[in-house]
Every structure is written in C-alpha cells, then in structure tokens.
Symmetry: C2
Subunit: 338 residues, 2 copies
C-alpha cells in the first residue's frame, strides 16, 4: 500500500514533511511512502531511514504565488505535479498528501485525477473541535465559492460518508448552515436546498446557525465554500484573538501571572483541543483518488496523521460509499453531472 | 429631543427596558423617552420616576414567532408597531430603540419608515471587539441575505459614515469580506464588487479574510447578510465554546481552580471586552430615521447605551452624511434606487 507525499509543499517543507513520512512508516508496517521533490535534499534528511520510502525526483516547487491552473499545466517538474502524475498512473498508490498551495492542490485534483462519477464538484472538509468530545466537519470550506443546490446535496452525502468513517458513527447528524434555525429562513440557495436535503439518504437534522458550530450538536455542516471559508476562518481568528487577549491580561497583572502558573495544564488542554491540525488535514472529497490537504504551517505529526487518514479512508472504502450513495439518489439531482 | 423605545421588545422586557430608559434620562438632561407598551405595567415599574418619560399604551406584543411583515401589518396595537407609527409621524422623535424580533424591526423600518434617498437596501451593523483597543463593525450582518454589488457599495458608504461617528475616525479602514486577500479572489459577488469599491469616496483597504475580523486591522467589514451572519454568529459561538471549555478544564483540576482565583480579574476583563452589547445595539443603517436593534437578551445598560447611541448619531448627522456621500457617488451605481 503506497501513499504519495509532496515533500516540498508547505511552510516547513521538506524537513517536517519527510519526518512525518518517517513517522507514518513506523506506525504502519504495510505502508510505503513515495516522496516527490529534490532527491538530494530529501536524502539528506532521511539519512539511512530508507526502508519503505521511495523518492521521485522533482526539481521545481509550486508556490502560493503561482496561478493554480497554470502551475499544474506548466510546472511539470514540481513536487506537486509529480505527485499527481504518480497518483494518476500508479494503481498501487491509494492517495496523496500535500501541505502546499490549496488552489494548486484543488486544480491538480480536478485536472489530473477527476471526480467520482455523479459528483458535480469535489469539496474540502476540514475538522473543527467542539466543546464536547465530538468533532464537527465543514463541507465545503472554500473549494467552491459559488454553488448550486446540487453541489450542496453532494457535499452533504460526501460529508456524511466521510464523518461516518472517521468517527465510527452510523448516521452522522448533517445540518445546513443558515442564518436561522427555521425551515423558511435562508438565502436563495439554502431555501432551495432545504427541502431537497430532506430527500437524501442521510440523517439531515435541519438548519444550523454559525453560533452552533462548536456546540457539538451537529457532525457535518454543509455550506457553499464562501460561507464555509468565512465560518472556518472566523472560528480560527476568534480563537486566536481570545487567547492573545487573555495572554495580554495575564502579563499585565502580577496575580494573574501567578494564577496562570496553576492553570497551565488547563490552558495546554484547551490549546490541544483547539488544534485543528491534530487529526491531519482536510480531505478533498469527491475525487477519484484520496487527496488530503494539510495546513501550510503544519508539522510532522500532522503529515503523519494525514497519511494515516488516507489509509483509514481507503480501508473503509470512502469513495465506493460515496459512489453508491450518489447512485442511490433520485435522478432529479443528477442532471448536471459528467 | 425624543427617542421612542419599544418597552415590550426582548427577553427581559419590560423591566430592563424601562430601567434602561430611566438610566438614559439621568444621563441626558435634554432627553425625553417615549415608552410604548402596556401602560399599567410600565407605570408599575416606573413608580414616581416619570419626569421626561411619556407612555403610549399598546396592549399587544410582536413575538419572534410572528411573521415579520404580517405582524407589522396586523398587530397595530403592539408596542413595536406603535413605536414605528410614532417614529413616522412625530417629527420631534429622532430615533427608535427595540430589543424585539429582528425580522419585525427590519420589516417595520422598511414598511413604516423607508430608505434614505439613493440607498438600495438598509443594513444591520453590529459592533465586535478586536484584540486591540479598536472595535470593528460588520455591515450587513443579516438583513439582506442575497445581495448585488450595488448593495455592498451602499453598505460600505453607510458603514464608513457610521464608524467615523462612533469612533471619531476621519477615514475608517473599510474592507470587503472575502475568501482570500488577493484582488482576484472571491465569489461572483465579491469579484464584481472589488473594483467598484475602489471608486468610492471611502478608505477602502482591500479584501479581508474572516480570520482577520478581530485583528484590529480593519474598522468596517462589508459583506452580504448571509456571510455577515455566519461571521458574527461564528465569532459568538467560538467565544462561548472556548470560555465554556476553559471553565470545564478549570473545574476538573484542583490547581487550575486555585489559579482561576488569581486570574479572576483577567477573565473579567476578557468577558467585558467580548461583550458585544456593551456599546448598545446594532443600528439599521440607511433608514430615513435612526433605528437601533438591541440583542434580545440585553439588559438595562445596553438599552441605555442604545438610546445614547441614537442621540450621538443624530447630533453628528449620520443620515445627512450618508445621503451626501450617496449623492457624491457616480451615476453608475445608482440605477436601481427609488
């Protein structure tokens, strides 16, 4: 079983990516990781830890400044494009992990790998923590900023299938992100989508306001990529602002500093809880092969977690489940596909 | 100078609303408050504190369960509709404050009061704290869930005028909420709006991601009401989830409990900072008269702050400024008005 990893994607590449691959190799005896990128640099990091690691040389790197589609077309010798080419052609490779440019990963996925039959648009589905022990996923968090109802229905199906695997839940609670809880609330898109959501073979629990995102009351939040991006980044920004404000208050007071020493453990637990990268990256759901996008600033643990996530999704047949559920849908929402 | 207050709007009405009016009367010697609602109950609360307070009897109440437009049309003897009728007909009344149903307040504003000449759609503009000493406002936070570019341009102008009054800033930094910082990023709406924003007589600073909302780097965030609602409620939900998680961690550990005692002051300051109601409510910008919507759960201090806000906006001629700025705009964005 092979997973291809873009060794030069992300702020901490190649060191953290290569080390993440080594961690993954240790955790799974059946795994081989294919690293793409500058062979000399990768070998320098690896040293003699070469068992079940293959290297495919690529001299170029796709950056955040590159235009995604142009980069995928023209940077043929980049670590990301090489990784996609391998994913496409090598049937023993089950998935791809990259912490590189989100836009380029999405473009590569569409242009090189393609969609699962019946899926109108693949979607990014990051995990967020909640105040309970359960996590929540947002589909789509930014891959599709303009959506139709059909897209949202597919996001719901893919999100439900994905969540059921990662959380071991038979019927994850799927909600439509909206500006009110009542059925009649919403913009044109959500009002049109709501009744259609009820017809899907999933556990649709109705509308969810953004206020409820971390309540733990829902498992899958379905939305267009623009709203999902606002939600995801709004949560990140708020968490960061609150923690930095609290830090400032603590620094400003002698007694608070003393108190902080006693509370260090509690803060550490909170920080771990809020770490959105701890489970690995966000899968790009709906592509013919498994693709996981890591946060650009991620470290070796996140890369390792993402490789493990690819294996878990493969072993639990995520894509086969999605395809079966899409076939199951009535014909009325399948007109735009293929 | 008179302000009309819907004494029966909100979860804590009429007690907190009436007490809020009394607080405002004490703070401003030129102010008269007109309270609408059940006269007997209002008088019970007021006792002998009747100086510069007028009561207009209204036996009915508009609830969150009412359909907004139907309630405004049919509940003629409700405290909210009476308040709007007074605002419309009594020229000495400069504005209205209510903590009632948002939908009904918006419907009343449109149906009874109407828009400032040239404004395509009025918008709600709540204030959020940032990690700096400056606040940020979101326009629109939910009044208009489907928008065109023209609406967003008007939100930008109204938000800029409003922020300049409340913060004493000559050129507030106005940003377009988007899924990326670069000019080419966005959905159809924001991509179309970006170049038009540059033509406005405001300090447009470009796109802002939701992650930056509490950074203090921008003063006015312009967006459609659906995205604004997601942003506002996402921030609220995240803050509440983080604080409740931290509380749980503190309760779970003896040492953290001790630490909390030392840090109580720091937490209190954080809580005050995060209180989005402390400045009063959210104005409904772009109506012919000043209308401020309070949070349903607000207390007397918030009601008082909202009344003070109405006075400040009136004295600083908010609506005249908005009208002048709209006239100033080139003809290309004024075609759909009136």
């Amino acid at each position: 079983m092979k997973v291809v990893v873009d060794a030069f994607g992300g702020d901490n590449a190649p060191l953290e990516v290569v080390e993440g691959a080594v961690l993954a190799i240790k955790q799974n005896k059946d795994l081989t990781v294919v690293l793409t990128g500058d062979e000399i640099k990768i070998k320098e990091i690896l040293g003699d830890r070469i068992e079940r690691i293959e290297i495919v040389d690529a001299k170029d790197v796709v950056t955040n400044e590159d235009s995604p589609t142009i980069a995928i077309r023209q940077k043929k010798d980049s670590s990301l494009v090489r990784a996609f080419d391998l994913l496409k052609t090598d049937e023993t490779i089950i998935g791809l992990v990259s912490a590189g440019s989100t836009g380029a990963i999405l473009a590569g996925a569409i242009m090189k790998i393609g969609r699962i039959k019946g899926i109108s648009r693949p979607a990014l589905a990051p995990i967020l923590p909640t105040k309970t022990d359960r996590d929540v996923i947002i589909v789509d968090s930014g891959a599709n900023v303009d959506c139709k109802s059909e897209n949202l229905l597919h996001f719901a199906i893919m999100g439900s299938a994905y969540y059921s695997i990662i959380a071991g839940e038979k019927a994850p609670r799927v909600a439509l992100l909206n500006n009110g809880a009542e059925e009649h609330k919403g913009n044109e898109l959500t009002k049109e989508t709501y009744p259609l959501m009820k017809t899907l073979p999933i556990n649709f629990v109705g509308n969810s306001e953004a206020r409820e995102v971390m309540s733990g009351d829902v498992d899958v939040i379905v939305c267009d990529g623009f709203a999902g991006n606002v939600l995801l980044k709004g949560v990140e920004g708020t968490a960061s602002a609150i923690l930095s404000t609290l830090k400032k208050e603590v620094k400003a007071s002698f007694w608070a500093k003393i108190g902080y020493l006693f509370m260090k453990g509690a803060f550490k637990k909170l920080k771990t809880k809020l770490d959105i990268n701890k489970h690995g990256g966000a899968p790009f759901l709906g592509c013919k092969k498994l693709i996981v996008k890591n946060h650009g600033s991620c470290g070796r643990d996140n890369i390792c977690a993402s490789i493990m996530q690819v294996i878990k999704l493969h072993e639990n047949k995520l894509n086969e489940k999605i395809e079966a559920m899409i076939q199951d849908m009535t014909g009325k929402v399948g007109t735009e596909n293929d």
